[in-house]
């Protein structure tokens, strides 16, 4: 799983540009898995287990990551951009980036601090004021290489550091993709559907059509979630903590999770000694929001990896939590099939 995670994080695939992620997943699928890609770009996989459950189970992870998109080319050859998904300007200002299909190098320019007013020095630039400089002499020169609509990505760099930590762009949600791939390529007890969905970062759009196609009874969404367990943040505002295991929440801004599945998750965690925690703030959302209201309704649970600095070039997570997520999801899949 860790090898797939690293490879997946190094691939560029913002919302609407998930093709390379999908190709990687397809080329690494177990030969016994059946799959198809729907009109929106979702990769839908079916894998037979030893038994067929009475209920249809679906596991979901989203393929897309946050990024930027070129909105126009300025006369001086620099590019205006806007965010694809939630990107805070403070995590892109002054950074190296990669542009378009050809992977051109660029930087997000930032005026020298020497030339800023006292007021300007204290204010993070707005997304409207951000531009990308890739060395083009002028607009005409730039147009040879870049078109409006091209994607801009954080520079790829996957780093293992500290005591079992990993930092990279796109851990949200390539971790979920890596975990699902691991399950598909294992010997499953029960048949299951796996959806690798597009456009989560734009508002849970891919999961809507994927869930419509699969029509599951039960869904397990594998995600990453914001941890704020950093210095200076205390109590419930820490939301969840790295190293304390997988995260199962009872409610977020998209979903009121199925109580039965929530209770089962913690029961499994306790019995199997899998570190597991819940979120101490009602915040964020994920594909569960689209899935649980599909058709006549789907019993849904989300199992998440706690992650610091989400939506930045340096999403930070702990490998021990990744292991906890994998263990819990495997057990949940079996238990859900027996409901």
């Amino acid at each position: 799983m860790m090898n797939h995670l690293k490879n997946l994080c190094m691939i560029n695939g913002a919302s609407g540009d998930e093709g390379s992620v999908r190709n990687y997943l397809i080329s690494n699928l177990d030969s016994k898995a059946e799959y198809h890609t729907d009109n929106l770009g979702n990769l839908i996989v079916f894998k037979k287990g030893r038994k067929s459950p009475s209920k249809k189970i679906m596991l979901d992870a989203h393929m897309d990551e946050v990024g930027l998109i070129v909105t126009s080319i300025k006369e001086d050859g620099t590019l205006t951009v806007n965010e694809v998904g939630g990107v805070d300007p403070s995590v892109v200002t002054g950074r190296q980036v990669v542009i378009g299909k050809n992977g051109l190098s660029g930087v997000i320019g930032s005026r020298a601090i020497h030339n800023l007013s006292t007021e300007e020095r204290e204010k993070v630039p707005s997304m409207e004021s951000i531009y990308v400089d890739f060395g083009a002499e002028n607009k005409e020169d730039a147009e040879k290489y870049v078109s409006p609509g091209d994607y801009i990505y954080f520079l790829q760099s996957y780093e293992e550091f500290g005591d079992g930590f990993v930092m990279s762009k796109a851990i949200d949600d390539r971790f979920g993709c890596a975990l699902l791939l691991e399950l598909i390529n294992s010997n499953l007890e029960y048949d299951a559907y796996f959806t690798f969905s597009v456009q989560e970062e734009l508002g849970l759009r891919g999961a809507k059509t994927a869930a419509f196609a699969v029509k599951p009874d039960i869904a397990i969404v594998v995600e990453t979630t914001t941890a704020s367990d950093i210095n200076g943040v205390s109590g419930s505002k820490r939301v969840c903590e790295l190293g304390k295991g997988t995260v199962v929440s009872f409610m977020d801004r998209s979903t009121m999770y199925d109580k039965e599945l929530y209770n089962i998750a913690f029961e499994i965690a306790e019995n199997k000694h899998i570190p597991c925690q819940t979120k101490t703030m009602i915040a964020g959302g994920n594909n569960s929001g689209a899935i649980h209201v599909t058709g006549c309704g789907v019993k849904t649970i989300a199992v998440s990896l706690p992650c610091r600095y989400l939506h930045s070039p340096s999403c930070t997570a702990n490998t021990s939590d990744m292991k906890s997520c994998l263990e819990l999801v495997s057990e949940l899949l079996t238990r859900a099939a027996e409901l």
Binding site: S90, G135, D163
Partner: protein, 337 residues
């Protein structure tokens, strides 16, 4: 010499002010190709050329070897590292920035940041330096094995090529100046020079030109050139206050500099068709030249600067041709002294 390779190597070497050893050793390695009379003294890399005599001028060619960064001030109980700035850090671009802590060993880490939905009224504001924490993914006890107060921290970036001969990286302020001086040495035929000169790659410029002060005292030059970087026009700047990337070295003109040397540098460019730009300042220059001019009994000082965009960010941008032209200017200037 492969100038681009030298720039990359110098840019990726580390040398936050006061801890320049790694960058200084890299520069010294190249300097040794041109003189055996060179060493690192009190942090400054110093090399001497030609035979010094009372009747001929002695010239100092300087570029600073240090870079901006952060310094460890404390380790918190929950394993985060508190810091202060070394030189002019832009705090607005620190969140989620990759860094390297230069402790007993180099440790990769990331600048911690509060998620936007928890930032509240602080959203959109730059972090205060006292609120900045570094996350090395380690407990306090583990950190204490490798990290101590006073250790330096630098941006974890590599040098990369952009289109049209542009290069991006950190510490191009002033490693591109160092590279231009080395390129000048490459161009010179030392046996046919009528002057003697010393090269200094000086420490702690970013803290107030401190290395330059002691180097100038020791060398006691008649003429000194501070080779640094200066502002290339960037969107939002006032055009009349900046140079332009690709338009050649910026020659300083200021009441605090020697007009004679400024004119001489301009003459060299005109004669040799080297592109150049006049950088007019109205007082001090905020470069090592400010120290050189008032050294001992005074010295004729001037600045020559490589135009650079996005100064003090991890993504500074220069143009290779500007570095090359700066080297050509320095070499020809020395031939004429």
């Amino acid at each position: 010499m492969d100038l681009k390779k030298v720039i990359f190597e110098l840019s990726e070497a580390k040398g936050v002010s006061g801890s320049e050893e790694n960058a200084a050793q890299t520069a010294l390695k190249y300097l040794k190709n041109y003189t055996s009379d060179c060493l690192i003294k009190n942090g400054n890399v110093i090399g001497h050329f030609g035979k010094r005599s009372k009747n001929i001028p002695h010239i100092l060619i300087d570029a600073h070897i240090d870079q901006i960064g952060l310094i460890v001030t404390a380790i918190t109980d929950d394993g985060f590292i508190k810091v202060s700035n070394v030189g002019g850090i832009d705090r607005r671009l620190l969140p989620a920035q990759r860094v390297v802590i230069h402790g007993k060993k180099d440790i990769k880490a990331v600048v911690s940041s509060v998620p936007p939905h928890l930032a509240g009224s602080e959203k959109g504001k730059a972090l205060k330096i006292e609120d900045i924490c570094i996350d090395a993914g380690m407990s306090r006890d583990d950190l204490l094995l490798y990290v101590s107060a006073g250790d330096k921290i630098s941006f974890d970036t590599t040098c990369r090529e952009l289109l049209n001969g542009r290069i991006t990286g950190s510490a191009l302020d002033d490693r591109s100046g160092v590279a231009s001086v080395l390129y000048a040495l490459e161009l010179l035929d030392m046996d046919n020079l009528s002057c003697s000169f010393s090269v200094v790659f000086s420490t702690q410029e970013e803290l107030g030109e401190r290395g330059a002060k002691i180097a100038a005292y020791e060398i006691n030059p008649d003429i000194a050139i501070a080779v640094d970087v200066s502002f290339a026009y960037t969107c939002g700047d006032k055009e009349y206050e900046c140079g332009k990337l690709g338009n050649g070295p910026m020659i300083g003109i200021s009441p605090s500099l020697s007009r004679e040397i400024s004119e001489k540098l301009i003459d060299v460019c005109c004669d040799k068709n080297i592109p150049f730009q006049r950088e007019v300042m109205h007082g001090l220059t905020s470069t090592n030249a400010d120290q050189f001019s008032v050294n001992r009994e005074g010295c004729k000082a001037c600045t020559v600067s490589v135009p650079l965009k996005y100064m003090h960010t991890p993504s500074e941008v220069i143009m290779l041709e500007d570095v090359r032209h700066t080297g050509e200017l320095l070499a020809e200037f020395l031939r004429r002294c």
